[in-house]
Symmetry: C2
Subunit: 292 residues, 2 copies
């Protein structure tokens, strides 16, 4: 994955650099860089590029832009989710969250600008693309994942409702962007995206379970944010429901189901191996053995 | 303009209806409808459709989606701009602003969802379109207008800087979406967009001057929000700089320059007439005579 890692950082650097240039208001430019670099695990763009690669990656510029767009949308959601009117989180990725470092105004604008930048970068990559109809597919996939009624905006809005269906909430708030990652990887390579949704769904749900485990066990370092927040914020958590062992087992099943769902494609075997290996890192080291 | 008016409302209804459906969190769905309906003057989508019509409007579905996208981006910027951490405006379009009616969380999410919806609707319209490369142009035009370094996010971020160049600020915060309106109208009709930027620039600047006049003269009804806000917020205002008569004269010159810049096109004469007529409504009735 070394190649994919550096490719993702390179594209993100190019996209952010074009927007946060010398004509941009300096605070906003700094805040946007701060929100994107250094990143977390970049799981979503890695997944996007891996699916594109498994399908021949026939337009590497477009798949890279799609991965970057999904990561920018993810970063935007974190910035807005940390705001005082939402989680009021003081830290993210081991440093002060954007609104703490730059103020609430700049934090709102940083999220807005990152959303716009994501779609803009798709459009710019598609300009050089030989098959412009791929852009419409990528736009549909990524906007569905962050908008309403099925995406992150809706997921966050469920937190404002008196009654929430837990699976609905997680699917919108976390799962949707993993589904977008696998589907966008396929669409950028010119392959039908729909059959790739299950892989994204299962990995997204697995990631959520792993996040719940880290939150419940207090693995603040791996989480990059304060632990025990689900309990503080009264959110559903898989460990409360299933216990630690049950949650670890559930994670294992989800990854297996995801891997089994992978459609026939030139690089399918390699992709299966890759995903099984990467998923092991979802858990704290102390638990990884139990999942083996 | 009766036809254009009803077409705009129809498309906005369809786009918002698809997003704010029964699977959407109810509060968010209501807030998004509240932010878009009833609208203001819908100047930007009208301008977009008028430019498309002047160029033969060869893809009416796409031009309508482009106009709707620009209006949704405009609505998003109003919702976020009214937030307590920005202008803390209690009213908009003669009713409580979104955060007053629905709370800060839902207001942030409403803005986010409207931005996403704008781009999503472009993508959906382009799926049925015979010339998919028009989508890349529309995406570039509309994202530039609301993102950074040149768009609304940047314009609002200039308010957080100790030093602001006034023209830079207005161009980003108000002008950019008028430029997007004229350019998107051209691009949706398959015509080169760049020559249409000056028309958008001049109308946008004229609109800003008219807004300054209404703010300074206290025409709260036409403004749909409290007056005297520029003085309260320490913002630059054309009336302070030029006096009322000077500002009215400036507005007239800007509209004339805009009309003169209109590139040769099948419906150019009608468009010139239409814009001159519409621009008269920028001013309070008591002043319209002076501008005649």
């Amino acid at each position: 994955m070394r190649d994919a890692d550096s490719k993702i950082e390179e594209v993100l650097n190019a996209v952010v650099g074009r927007a946060a240039n010398r004509t941009c208001p300096p605070l906003l430019a700094r805040a946007v860089r701060y929100a994107v670099f250094p990143g977390g695990a970049r799981l979503r763009p890695k997944l996007c590029l891996a699916v594109a690669a498994a399908n021949g990656d026939t337009d590497p510029g477009l798949s890279a832009a799609a991965g970057a767009a999904i990561e920018l949308l993810h970063c935007a959601s974190l910035v807005h989710d940390d705001l005082p009117c939402f989680d009021n989180a003081a830290e993210r990725r081991g440093k002060p969250s954007v609104h703490v470092a730059f103020g609430d105004q700049i934090a709102v604008l940083t999220g807005d600008a990152l959303i716009v930048m994501a779609f803009e970068s798709l459009g710019l990559a598609a300009t050089d693309c030989h098959e412009p109809q791929r852009l419409a597919a990528l736009l549909a996939i990524s906007s569905r994942a962050v908008g309403m009624p099925y995406g992150i905006s809706a997921g966050q809005a469920w937190e404002c409702e008196p009654k929430v269906e837990v699976s609905h909430y997680h699917q919108a708030k976390t799962g949707s962007l993993f589904v977008a990652a696998t589907c966008a990887g396929a669409a950028a390579a010119g392959v039908e995206s729909e059959p790739w949704a299950v892989l994204g769904e299962r990995i997204g749900e697995g990631y959520q379970v792993a996040d719940d485990i880290r939150d419940a066990l207090g693995d603040a370092e791996a989480l990059g944010k304060p632990v025990g927040q689900d309990e503080v914020n009264g959110r559903p958590n898989a460990v409360q429901e299933l216990g630690v062992d049950g949650a670890v087992k559930r994670l294992k099943t989800l990854v297996e189901e995801g891997v089994e769902s992978i459609p026939a494609c030139p690089g399918g075997d390699l992709l299966k191996l890759l995903i099984s290996e990467e998923a092991k890192r979802f858990l704290p080291k102390s638990l990884a053995r139990r999942a083996a």
